[in-house]
Every structure is written in C-alpha cells, then in structure tokens.
Symmetry: D2
Subunit: 353 residues, 4 copies
C-alpha cells in the first residue's frame, strides 16, 4: 500500500499542529516537510512536546522547489493574504494538489474578497479562483475528488452552512432575515500574541466581537445563495444575507451556532427531520438529533463530526437550528483531511473519527 | 441612624448566600433571621465558610410568627410554587414588606402563570398578584417605593428587558420577530444536585437548553408588551412576543443576551445612543456603551451593573443589542437590595457597587 | 485476523465510557456486552450521544452466565467493594480473563485492604489476591502477559509510582520522608451526584481533600516498598511510606504529581536522566523530559502517555519529580487496554495513542 | 473627615487595577493621580471599562514633581528593578510615604537581591533598604505604622509565611527540610503579553514552573529565618531554607500553598490549633480552620483574608499546612491597602472585606 507524500506550510499554528496530529495516525500518509517561518531549525517537539516519541522532524523554511518536488499534496495553513502569494507557485508543478486553509480562495468573486479582506488578488492567484473548489465535502464531494486546489472552509462557515443548507435547499424557510448567533472557543483566534486572549482576560467572561464585519460572512452568504438561488445572486441581484454575531467562549475548542429562520407553514418536527436525514444520508460526519434532543459542544470535541439539532418555535413561526463542530477539526484540519481522503480515493473517514 | 431588621427565607441557596454577602456590608441593615429548611441548627459558616469572622448565626426553621414579629422586611429566596404558600402569611402583619425572588408574583395574569408553571395560585396568593410590583427599578421605581410586595425579576428577564426597553418604548423597532439569544453561567441553575451541572459535564462545553419553553418568556413578554402597547395586550389582543434561547456557559456567574430586532428606517448610532442615554439617565446601575464598544460579562461580575451596547446591522435592517449582568447580583440579590433601598428611602446604591 | 470478544461491566461511568471510546477504534476487539445496573434497556447513545453513528448497543443487566459464556475478556469498571463480589464468579469459566479497574485486588495483604477500605474480602475473593497481578505494565509486563486477573492501578498511584520507581530501584534516594503532592481533574471523582463537584463549587477554586487517608496510599506504598526492599516490608518490618496530599483541579482530565525525595550525594542531572531513560527504555508510553524542561498536563490529555521530568534542588539536597498522566487514560482505561494488549499478544500500543 | 491624597504609579497592571477598585470604595482616600507609561492621555475607563460611572480620570505620565507635591501617599505598582529607580526620588519630599509593590525593597541584604534578581541597587536605593519595612501586617504592624517606605510582600511569600510563621516562632517544627508546594492563578503573572498565558495554552492544563529559582524564595527564607533564629542567619550562618515549587492554576485569582514540615513529638491537633489562634488573635484577616476542615481558594477570592488549615500526618511525623489567599488582594493590593490603613491610623480593615 503506497503512501502519499504530504507537506504542511504553516506547521506551528493551531491548525498546523492539528493537521500533524491527525496525519500521524493516518495509514496512507507520509509526512515529508513541516514548514514554519518562525522556527526554522527547531524540532517540532521543541514547539509541541505533545509529539515526543511520535514525530522527530526538523522545521524547515519555505523552499518551494524542494517542497513541490518531494510532495504529492501540500496543506497551506497560513494567514489569509499570505496564502495567495504561495499557492500559485506550488501548483506550477504538474499533478500537485493543494488544500489551502486560508480564506484566499474561498470566494468566487474577487471583488467581494477585496471588499471584506482589504486586499486584491494578483493575476496568478485570481486565475486560480475559477478552479478552486470550496472544500465542504457534504456539498461538493464530487468536485473535490478531482480538484487540484481545495479552499478549506472557515470554522464558523462550516457550522452555519451545514446547519442551514437542508432548509434552504428544500425551500422550506424564508431566505430573508436569517440570524446566526455563533459562539467559538479561543483556539479559533490562532496562536498570535494578544492580550485579549490571555487566560485572565477571557476566563469567567464572554463577549461578542466583530459584530458587524466578520470575515466569514461573505463565505456563508455565497454558499447559502448558491443553495437557494442556484447562483451567487439571482436575476434580481438578490442574495441570501445573514445577520452574524460571533462570540468568544471560555473554552479551548468548539463552535455552537444558533440559527434562526422563518419557517414556512405546514412543517413539523417529522418533516424537518426527514429533510435533514435525507440531505445528509451519505455524509459520515454529520449527525442529526431528533427533537427535543440537542447537540452540545462536548459531543464533538476532538472529532470531525458536525452535530445538528433543531426546534420549531411555533409561537414565533421560526425554526432554531443548533449546529456544533470542533473548530480545529471539522472547522479546519479534520475537514482538510476529509478533503484529502476524497481527493486521493481513500475511505472518507480514514485517520478521522 | 436606625437600622431595619431583615430576615431571609431560603438563606442557603445561591441567591440567599449572595443576599447575606451584600447585606453584611449594608450600613442600614441588621440581619435578624436566616431560615433554611435543610440546615436547621447549623451555623451559616458551616454551610458557607466564606462568612467566617463576618457572621455568626444559626439557621432556623420556618417559624412564621417569630419571623414576622421581629422583621421589618423579609426576602423570600425560594423555588417558585413554594413562595406563594408563604408570602400571604408574612404579609398579614401590618407594615410588613416582602421582596420575593421567585416567579410566583411576577405575572399579572394568573392564567398565564398556570400555563407556564403548571400550578395554580390559591385564593390568598392570587389576590396579591394585584398589589405585587414587578421589581425592576429602572421601570417601576415609584411603585416600588410604596410596595408591600415586590416580585423580583428573573435573571434572563432583567437582562433582556433592560436591553430592549428603550427601543420599544420609543417605537423605533418592530415589535414582531424579536429574538433573544441568551447565555448564562451555571450558578443560574441553583444549588440542587444535578449531573448536568457537574464540572466534568459542562466545563469545556456549551449547549442550548429549554429551547422552546423557558419560564422567563412570559415575564419578558408581559413587560415588553406593557412598554410597547401600554397594556398586557392591545385591543386586537396583540402582545410582544420573543423567540428566546437560553444557553449554559462554563462560567460561575454572568449573563449576556444578544437581542435582534428590526430597526425602523432613519436611525443611526447617534440617535439610538441618545435614546438609551435618555431612557437611563437616572438609572445608577445601567451603563451604556457607545459603538463600536461592547460590554463583556467580566465588566459586571460581582457588581449590580447592567451594561448595554448595540450595533446597527445596516445590511440586514436590524439592530443587535448586547446586555450583560451578573445573574446573582443584578439578576437576583443585588437587584433585590436595590429594591429594598428604594422601598426604605435609602440611597439607591447603598451597599451595592 | 480474529478479534477477541470483550464485555464491560460498569459501562456508564467515566472509566466505562473511556473504555468504549478506546475499544471502538481497536482493530482486534469486538465489543460484546455493555452492562449497567442503572440503565438497563437504554441504548448507550442515550447516555452518551458522543457514540452516535459509532456504536448502537443496548445496555444489559448483570447476567453472569451470558457474559462469561460469550466473552474472552471482561473489564470490570465498578466501585471498590462491589468488584470483589463479581470477579470470582467471572473467573470460574476456564480461560476467562478479567481486568478489574477497582481497588479490590490491588493490595496483596487483605488486612491492609480492610484497614483502608473498611471492608473484608470473602473467601473466594481473598484467594484471588494471590493470583491477581498489579497492572502496571512498566513494572509487571511479563506477569501481566499470563495473568487471568489484572488489578488495574489507581490513577494517583500510576502517576506517583512511575515517577518515583527509577529512583528507588536504583537506591539513589532516601526511602524515608517521601512527599507526593498530587493534583487531579474532577473526572477522577466519577459520575456520582455530589454538590462539591458542581461547576460553580469547584470552578475558579482549588482545594486539598482526603489529606491524611486517601485510598491510593497503601497501593503506592506497597509498590514502592517492593521496588526498594524487594518485598512488602523488610526484615525490620520497614516499608516505604509517603506523605500524600491530593488536590482537586478545575479541569476535566489529568493528574500532575509533584514528588519530593532526598537525593543521595553525587548525582547530577545527567546521571538521573540516564537512570530514568534506562529504566523506561522499553516502555512505549513513558516519556522522559530533560532538565530544565518539565511536562504539563495538556501534553498527555486524551493520550496514554506518562510524562516525567525532574529538577535537582541542590540547596535542599532534594530531587523534585513531576509526573503527569491523563487520569481516565493512563490512569484508568488506557492502561487497562494496554494491559489487554499485553495479555493477548497484541502490539502494546494497539488502539492507544 | 479629611481624606488622604493617594496616587498610583503603574495603574494599568493587575495590581494597579485592583488598587483602584479597592480605593474607590475607601472612605478616607481621594485618588489623585493614576500614572501609566503605556497609556498616557487615555482615560482609565478606556483601559478598564469596569470603572465606567465610577471613576473618570486621565492617565498621566511620570511627572515626579507633580506627583510628590500633590500626594500624601504613593503606591508604586511597577516591575522589580524599575521601582528602585523611582522610589528614592518620591521619598525626597518630607513626609511622603510610599508603599512599593515590587520586590526591590523586600530583601534586607542587597547581595541576596543581586543574586536572585541579577541587578544591583544604586547608592540611593540601597540606603533605603535599611528603612524599608516588610509590609506583612501580621508580623510587623508596629513598624509599618511609622514607616515611610513599606515593601509590600510577594503573593507566594504572603501565603507561605503566614502559613508557617506560628510553627517556627513556637519552635514546634524542624527548621530544615521545609517544602512549600504552591499553586497560583494566572493573574499572578501580570498583564505582559505571553503565549504561555493564552487561554488555549493554560486552560485544561496545569504545570510547575521556575522550579528551582523563583524570586520569592529569598524573601520567604529571610522572614522564616527571622522568625526562627531571630536574625537573617544564626551564629553558625544557618538560615531557614525551603524547597519551593510554584505551579500555574487555570483560574484567574488565588493561591493555595501546601507546606510540609517535620513536627516535633507531642503535638496534636489541639495544641497546634491553640498556637495558630494565639498567634493570629489580633489579625483581622487571618482565619484559622479547625481540623479536619481545610480552606479552599474560593473562600477568599476577592477578599483580603488568608485562610489557614492544617493536618498532622502521624504516620510520617509531618504537619501539612494549607494556606490560601487571593493573589491580587491579600497577595498584593489588598495587603497594600491594609498597610496604608495602619500607616494612617485608619481601621485596619477599612475599605477591605
């Protein structure tokens, strides 16, 4: 059984670490290079003693030639606007495949990207937008299989889109006035120094942040519009929009999104349950809870599951959808490995639980 | 300076403990009796060693005669449906005043109470519903001053009503489709044994609960209807309704409510800020944050403040209101003391910070 | 590749749950019966929704005949004094093997057991004490291989014994005056209802408990005595004794033990490091940290590792040893599976990491 | 009633913030200047919104002339080695009094300071060492009353010294081989940026740190030597030494020290309890627990109490002392205010609880 050769650019962030952890136990993967701008020359166990006795590998700098020559697949776990400078060069090698965990290739429309990220794609990276596949396997499994570049979704986006997709696809809800009230653990903010992420500043507290302009909004709206209108915007230039409020939970890992939508008349618990179960019948990582049971973050911690429950608020004519994931796993690295499995024809849950 | 004599029935729950803590430092209060069904004969420091060197008092049983004879004011910190059996007898004594922390006297309409609490008021307690004043000082300060029975509001209710009141009163939002997504620390559930409240069951997790039928809903809707329609229901029997979802935060104390309302056209940050500041100009415990600043739970922990911020989501035509309190203080015992201060003509923030 | 048939008695405690989680991913194990006194007839996913899509099995009552007939191995994850009533009957079947996670078969001397646990072994269980093997693979690998009954060690015991063993075995420390200051997460206390384990009672706090008479003391002293004196007590009836103080950490999982011993003259960091590395050269789950590096609980969370570091306090003539494990894994169920792997000739780390 | 005028240099660290919080409610204090190198020109509520509606004051730079002229007392809440450059100039003004929260004036011997802090006192600051009084009111109340410069003790030091003092003073324990195993919340590390203090790096974990050379060691040893030998070192140059291991707890505030000492023969629970109670009979902030009761961190959180309990381990001939404080209150700012109260003849617990 031949293994594929895999490298990780950005190996010392939380997503990079999680990728290593998963791939170490993946039966079909050989980890080739770990690249880190900040820690060249150090052993990965100097940064993460968790890997003692499991992995003995020196972190190297960004030698693009070496990396592309020696890898079948590269994961880029870099900040947005950094990825777009590197990915085009990686893909120059024929047959190379890239799974990018940044936001740089998630939006089909480069103008929208610039609007939300205050940065323009250059020519080389802009071309790639057309080929990049949005890496949500439950929606795009077939495209992912043959993609050379997969744009791995954002953590909040995964949770919100999977929670809402069956309702919009089946047109049982109003596409207007959708609210997504989301809560995430602190690892979602990455490993950059920040006073606001200090233990004594967020423990025993809770807050909303980026209340109006969180970067995951355009990505969620793009995908919801595609599901409802079949295109990014319909003939009347209408799109699905959401009011999105992210909050910071005093936990390490996990996202819970509470979504509120106006439910059309005539749908009860059973009909909705059927819709969800059918929509996700072939999705090994989505679990549907029957009312009145609801998922909790701890059910999915350190797994690749997305657990979804719902409650119909008849007094208000609304449906509430609760969707939980582990932000570092299904919200980032676990999903990236799921994408890898699909791309290379492995079992979809290989190396994952 | 004469002190008033105060007793607490239900002294060993979290609200009771918090009442003791506050009253110990109140310059105008003498603690007379601490009543606890479960711990008669024990010293309060056996239950709460926190009070060592501060309070040396034996817990007594429910001797109604003794309590009423020797107290000017009684706080009842009991489970709902228990309070209604005791309060009428307390109030038999002329001049006696009671602040009840349960839900039993919060709803003006006994039918609504029965609908949500599955319990009927008997004759004596039903009569009291007419005289009971809803103890939210920012709305009912004058009535509280002369009340003999104050029904202290629920924790979620305080946070939601204070957050939304200025908008409804000034009719700048649509009274329909209001969403309150609320998050509370675990002390909100009280001190009764429950596996779900064990550390290892809620730490590093987060969940929604009582998603459709939380008891605080009718209380919030009653007050919001009064603010908007001037009565519990308007001539067309319309009331203000909310879609309410409580969640359990892995922290000890604190509530943050994220409220979503449809904002009428023509209102910007400045107009809304003015509305809030004017509404709360005489409220010493409400602090308004100017956009884009937003309150966090830690700002109010162990204080009696309610901090309120907002953000106008122009893309969606909505206003988001963030309202935070400490559930044991402004959400229960701090507010009860604030009510006491008003009732007895003390400085409104006496003993509170 | 034939799988062994495994049943778990006591499947709904924390150790039982962790056993299921590990065994689900074990390539050589088929889970046959899950036994739970409290939840007969329920599906395991009703109790632990974590197992949705992974395991669909009804909990059954204690049908000893059925269990022994259909299982090659039984894990008993029961409270102490309960196990001793069941294990003898399980072992009546020829070839049956049992790994007991309680304390009932850990102490070679039944008098000591009675002294610490206030309970006597009956005749049948007392006989088993002679055959039972203390299930610490790093010390007793060979005996475990052929054992029919393995007494899986306590969580604190595993951490303390593994931390100290190399020093006593090599006689480089004084066997007197040993101090073990240990700290454990709350899951160590199990899933029984207890106010002291409520989130709001132990979060943001820390305390010592069972300061003089914790049940793991005799077990640690037995093993340390065997290592130093070669027997439970030497000719002068001397034993190795420890001063042991357990503390409750506000975390879900993990133990850190800080051990203080008087170091004999002439030993520096290098000599001690060599002693540890040699002692554990064949132990896949023990990782030794070189000074000044020290292990942290998070390095071992949800793994079967025991990480050990040390610091020589020359000013005091003492060596401090820091030993960390996950109390539910290496401190209970992970170690039990490690024992199973040895007993059945599987790879020692099969199913574990 | 005339108030004293107080300024705080270093107002935006955790100790500075806690000082402000306490002094805001102190009946005899007027806050004059808040000095902060990093935030000159900002309002204190920009940094700490907690103070909204309570304090409206601009942070100013270090204008020594202005500060000394306008203040009766200055608190210096600065990093060590920074304080020593400023305090001598403050004290030039006649009648000025300073309470320094750094370590710069705690050690009587400047050589020891240099040994542990890698920094020398200059001439002006070295002279002050003779006049500085170690600000532990339970030991030095009288000296503090008349001191112009009080060196406020370290947090770990306060906890350890108060826990051990009665035993050494009464010579009921061996002064050799003392072990202090201490655990602190993360606010003890201050507000400087540090990856190790990020929530996701210390939550759900626990570790020892600075295992051999923590700065509080010489301070504790100085005081314990004074208590036992009556001087820093006895004629044989003997001093009391401790083996000290600090650990990082995943909580915001609080220290628990577990101290192990060899108890001389003939002392039981009653004798030891008497010794403690007598030693602290006039200390309003020390509470002694009778065996088998033991203090927990939560009993003292946000109070100025030091709670002490003990257990005699007869099997080992040792006494274990458990001492808990809030590191920001009794371990820093609360104690500083207690010192202020003594210096200015206020009630010792004025403004404190």
């Amino acid at each position: 059984m031949k293994k594929i050769k895999v490298s990780i650019i950005g190996a010392t962030g939380y997503s990079g670490k999680e990728l290593i952890k998963i791939l170490l136990n993946h039966p079909k993967v050989e980890l080739i290079h770990l690249i880190s701008a900040s820690y060249v020359g150090k052993n990965i166990t100097d940064i993460f003693p968790d890997f003692l006795n499991q992995l003995d590998k020196e972190l190297i700098g960004l030698d693009l030639h070496k990396i592309t020559q020696e890898s079948d697949l590269v994961f880029t776990a870099l900040p947005h606007t950094v990825s777009m400078k590197i990915v085009p060069d990686l893909l120059k090698k024929e047959g190379m495949r890239v799974i990018d965990l940044s936001a740089d290739f998630r939006l089909m429309d480069s103008v929208t990207y610039t609007d939300w990220y205050q940065k323009k794609h250059d020519k080389k990276s802009k071309i790639l937008l057309k080929n990049a596949v949005y890496g949500l396997p439950e929606l795009y499994g077939k495209k992912i299989k043959s993609a050379s570049l997969v744009a791995n979704p954002g953590c909040y986006s995964t949770s919100a889109i999977l929670g809402i997709a069956p309702l919009l696809t089946n047109q049982v809800v109003n596409p207007e006035g959708i609210i997504v009230d989301a809560k995430s653990g602190t690892s979602g903010a990455g490993r950059k120094l920040s006073l606001g992420l200090h233990f004594a500043e967020c423990n025993e507290s809770f807050k909303a942040y980026k209340c109006l302009r969180h970067n995951h909004i355009p990505e969620i709206e793009q995908e919801l519009s595609l599901l409802y209108y079949g295109q990014i915007q319909n003939k009347q230039k209408k799109t699905v929009k959401i009011s999105f409020t992210p909050h910071l939970l005093p936990i390490n890992r996990g996202i819970l999104s509470t979504c509120y939508l106006d439910l059309k008349d005539g749908y009860g618990d059973e009909e909705i349950l059927d819709i969800y179960k059918e929509f996700y019948q072939n999705a090994p990582f989505v679990r549907i809870f029957s009312p009145p049971e609801l998922p909790e973050i701890r059910f999915v911690t350190k797994t690749n599951y997305c657990d979804i429950g719902f409650a119909i608020d008849e007094r208000m004519g609304k449906i509430k959808v609760i969707s939980v994931i582990d932000n570092l796993s299904k919200g980032a690295s676990g999903q990236a490995v799921q994408n890898m499995n699909i791309m290379f024809g492995f079992r979809e849950n290989s190396g994952l639980i």
